[in-house]
């Protein structure tokens, strides 16, 4: 027995690292609070004790001052400001995805995209929670992901891609955005899903706090992957940092991270739980411009305010046939990110020589969209084209934040001329004319410019594409 004890003592003595104990201050993303047990092992193995302060990644990225290390979901926000520390090493990954209650899963359809989620959210059929993107990396990643999918360029977002606000439909389904979305979701019963890191959703499922676990959906049009780099903020602690990184990347530590925190290891040899093997599909590129992020936050912050869009539609006899058919098809095809959304007020003004019909609907659900289609389906076409009189009428209907879309195929031949129309101050409502057929480019462009809107030529593309291009522009 004593022999055994002595042998053990010798073995232990040989294994204990002779490294000095160090205490470092680390700033970490909020969700990394689950790393406690891993950091305790780290201290045992390396002698480095990490005293952690938690903040949302976006908030934390504003300043790392006063910390020795930082461990955030990404260093991309820091890099946009040119403030990323020189040494950074990715320790683990987790994608920002969607957790859905099994009862609500069917509404999204098979293998949904972010566009499908936005579509159902706009209709009021799907309500979700997310983290506050002004504070949290997960929330910001969700916003970037959805906006990149909405732009549909297959490329990183550029400022011009987010000149129009295409997030409102998606954001109409947002039940809450709070610093602790997981806790909030667990407390409530009226929310269908949660946008968060895969790791947070799996941990929630494993916690037993939900009566039925969430189904995890990896949107087909792409996800944003957080890669959790550990960064050295204070260069004087380089030796300890190197030790910490080496240990965290060792197979044993990687295994522990995967098992206890549901994050994916960066060490390929680690055997993973079945749940951490799901194919993530395509990752969306990360924009290289702070301006893009600022704009997305602006759109995010003003979501939910009652908005109005007014369509001024030419129903003169020249529209008969394919042109009117194209117009109806464009309206019927507005879905995904372009759908009219819950809370939005849609006004349709049909005109020829005079205003033929005016109809306003504040969207509450699918039946309201059907009513709008019925207005557009009208076969009541008349002679003459009084473009500026109709536009003047429409602008008087504007309430609050409004945009006007004007579609015409002809020359103004009744009512006031464009000069007379422009002589009167028109306020701040932007007008987006869509030109097709014989309409005058010069006149429409003048009005668009004067109002702060933009002329779109439907000649080069389908009417639907033209409508989509300006959907959401304010």
């Amino acid at each position: 027995m004593r022999v055994l004890a002595a042998v053990l003592l010798l073995v232990l003595a040989a294994c204990t690292p002779s490294t000095p104990a160090v205490r470092l201050k680390m700033l970490a993303s909020t969700e990394l609070a689950d790393l406690g047990p891993v950091l305790a092992e780290l201290k045992k193995a390396t002698g480095v004790e990490l005293v952690v302060e938690h903040r949302g990644t976006v908030e934390a990225s504003r300043s790392l001052a006063g910390f020795d290390l930082a461990w955030l979901s990404t260093n991309r926000f820091l890099r946009l400001r040119g403030a990323d520390p020189e040494l950074a090493s990715s320790i683990m990954t987790s994608p920002v995805v969607l957790g859905v209650k099994p009862a609500s899963r069917a509404v999204l359809g098979d293998r949904p995209t972010w566009a499908d989620v936005a579509d159902r959210a706009a209709l009021g059929q799907f309500r979700y929670g997310m983290a506050d993107p002004r504070v949290s990396g997960g929330g910001m990643a969700a916003l970037i992901g959805v906006a990149t999918a909405a732009a549909g360029t297959g490329a990183p977002l550029r400022p011009e891609d987010v000149s129009c606000d295409r997030l409102q439909g998606f954001l109409a389904g947002r039940a809450f955005d709070v610093p602790d979305p997981v806790g909030e979701f667990a407390r409530r019963s009226d929310v269908d899903g949660l946008v968060a890191h895969e790791s947070e959703l799996m941990a929630l499922n494993a916690s037993g706090r939900l009566s039925t676990p969430l189904e995890i959906v990896y949107p087909r049009d792409g996800i944003v992957l957080s890669d959790y780099p550990l960064m050295l903020v204070e260069p004087a602690h380089r030796a300890a940092y190197d030790r910490v990184v080496e240990w965290l990347k060792s197979p044993g530590a990687q295994q522990m991270i995967a098992e206890r925190t549901w994050r994916r290891p960066v060490e390929p040899s680690v055997v993973r739980d079945e749940k951490l093997r799901a194919d993530l599909g395509t990752a969306l590129y990360f924009p290289d411009s702070q301006e893009v992020l600022d704009r997305l936050l602006l759109f995010h912050d003003r979501a939910g305010e009652g908005r109005q869009v007014i369509f001024v539609l030419d129903y003169s006899t020249s529209m008969r046939g394919p042109r009117l058919a194209g117009l109806r098809e464009a309206f019927a095809s507005l879905n995904g990110f372009d759908r009219f959304y819950v809370g939005e007020t849609v006004t349709i003004v049909r005109f020829a020589g005079t205003v033929l019909e005016e109809r306003s609907i504040t969207v509450r659900g699918k039946q309201d969209l059907d009513a709008l289609l019925a207005v557009v389906a009208s076969d009541d076409l008349q002679d003459n084209t009084a473009i500026w009189a109709a536009l003047d009428h429409a602008l008087r209907l504007a309430r609050g934040e409004t945009a006007v879309v004007l579609m015409t195929d002809g020359e103004n031949n009744a009512g006031p001329s464009v000069n007379e129309f422009l002589r009167v101050g028109r306020g701040e409502v932007p007008v987006f004319p869509i030109r097709f057929g014989e309409a005058s480019t010069a006149e429409l462009d003048r009005v668009a410019q004067a109002s702060g809107g933009r002329l779109v030529e439907a000649g080069a593309k389908s009417l639907l594409e033209a409508v989509r291009e300006i959907r959401g522009c304010r």
Binding site: L87, S90, T93, P95, G152, A155, R264, L280, T282
Partner: protein
């Protein structure tokens, strides 16, 4: 009646019974550790050598390399850093040697060390490659952009026509238009060209799509850089060292075409039980080889450099880690091909169509600044 018998136990024997077994364990262990190079004996001191590394740090972080060096009395403390950052580090002089990845950084380091101890060693080289996955390489093959190197059913290496790849980018081609379920555009992802040599090499690769002659003047370099810039910018925010992420199961999600070094791929394949035929390499027809220089600042650094050039164990290990070894006269040795063929890996294309002619360091650096908007 017999006298009671006292059994006398020899106290020395008792002590030995207690002491000998653990002593045996200790001595055996010590001998094993000494022989294997994990520790050094009391008769030889260990010299700790501090070094600054770019992507070639994998070499000195390898357990066997550490053991071989330890057996020779050296422990190298590695601090990783991007290759271009390396040359700019304010505390450069505090290291025994540095190991940048490319010629621009090499030149910079030597300039900064002008007048001081500075000795270069070139132990091996490795080509810069574009790493991708089977279905993406095949999609490029169908477009006539890539051609398989070798006849096998599942080639691991493809030659890549940069001009044709540029053509796909010019028309904004997306992978789903080439039959894949990926709505992203056909682009290459690399580390930041301002910071990492492999990122800078991507600039060199795309430059070949605009002509073979490297620019000779600052004006020509800037003009070429502006032409190349959109193809590098297309990826949005650049990443860091792409290799670790390429080899994880989520590799496709991180990047479908990533700029890495060939040795990282070869070393990965040699670690697998059977060859991974999903991960394949694209070699631009005009290849670029990174010949990292171990630049020594001290006698301790010189000693490491000499070991790298002469020590048979270290040189064998370099080949096992995927590097093509170089001899003192700069000739490439043939042990690389022999070794990997013995391990079931075909020999990669050797750059029959020539090398990328990179501009002179100062011109190339200017190009990188323009392409990467380097601060």
């Amino acid at each position: 009646m017999r006298e009671p018998e006292f059994k006398v136990i020899d106290p020395r024997r008792r002590f030995l019974l207690w002491f000998v077994p653990p002593l045996t364990v200790f001595v055996t262990g010590l001998v094993v550790l000494l022989v294997s190079g994990h520790i050094t004996g009391p008769f030889r001191s260990v010299t700790v050598v501090r070094a600054l590394f770019a992507s070639k740090r994998d070499f000195f972080q390898d357990e066997q390399v550490k053991r071989i060096l330890m057996a020779r009395g050296y422990q190298v403390h590695v601090t990783p850093v991007g290759s271009r950052d390396l040359a700019e580090k304010p505390d450069l002089d505090s290291y025994h040697f540095v190991f940048p990845s490319g010629h621009v950084a090499n030149e910079h380091v030597k300039t900064r060390r002008a007048g001081k101890h500075v000795v270069p060693y070139r132990p091996f080289f490795t080509p810069v490659v574009l790493a991708t996955f089977r279905e993406y390489a095949e999609a490029l093959r169908k477009e006539g952009v890539a051609t398989p190197h070798g006849q096998g059913e599942k080639p691991l290496y493809y030659n890549l026509d940069m001009a044709k790849l540029k053509g796909l980018a010019d028309v904004g081609k997306r992978w789903d238009e080439l039959g894949l379920t990926n709505g992203n555009r056909v682009i290459v992802q690399s580390p930041d060209p301002c910071k990492a040599y492999s990122g800078a090499t991507l600039v060199g690769f795309f430059a070949t799509a605009f002509g073979d002659e490297p620019p000779q003047t600052i004006d020509a370099a800037e003009k070429l850089a502006l032409e190349v810039k959109p193809y590098v910018d297309a990826q949005g925010q650049a990443g860091e060292d792409m290799a670790p992420k390429y080899f994880v199961p989520e590799g496709r999600t991180h990047a479908v075409i990533a700029v890495i070094y060939e040795h990282q791929y070869i070393a990965y394949q040699l670690r697998q039980k059977s060859v991974d035929t999903e991960r394949v390499l694209l070699y631009p027809t005009k290849q670029h080889q990174s010949t990292p220089e171990l630049i020594s600042f001290t006698p301790e650094g010189d000693r490491i450099g000499e070991l790298m050039m002469n020590d048979p164990d270290l040189r064998r290990r370099a080949v096992e880690l995927g590097f093509h070894s170089l001899s003192w006269n700069g000739e490439s040795a043939d042990d690389f091909g022999t070794y990997i063929a013995g391990r079931g890996l075909p020999e990669p294309p050797a750059g029959e169509a020539g090398r990328v002619q990179l501009p002179k360091a100062e011109l190339f650096e200017r190009m990188l600044d323009v392409v990467g908007d380097c601060k």
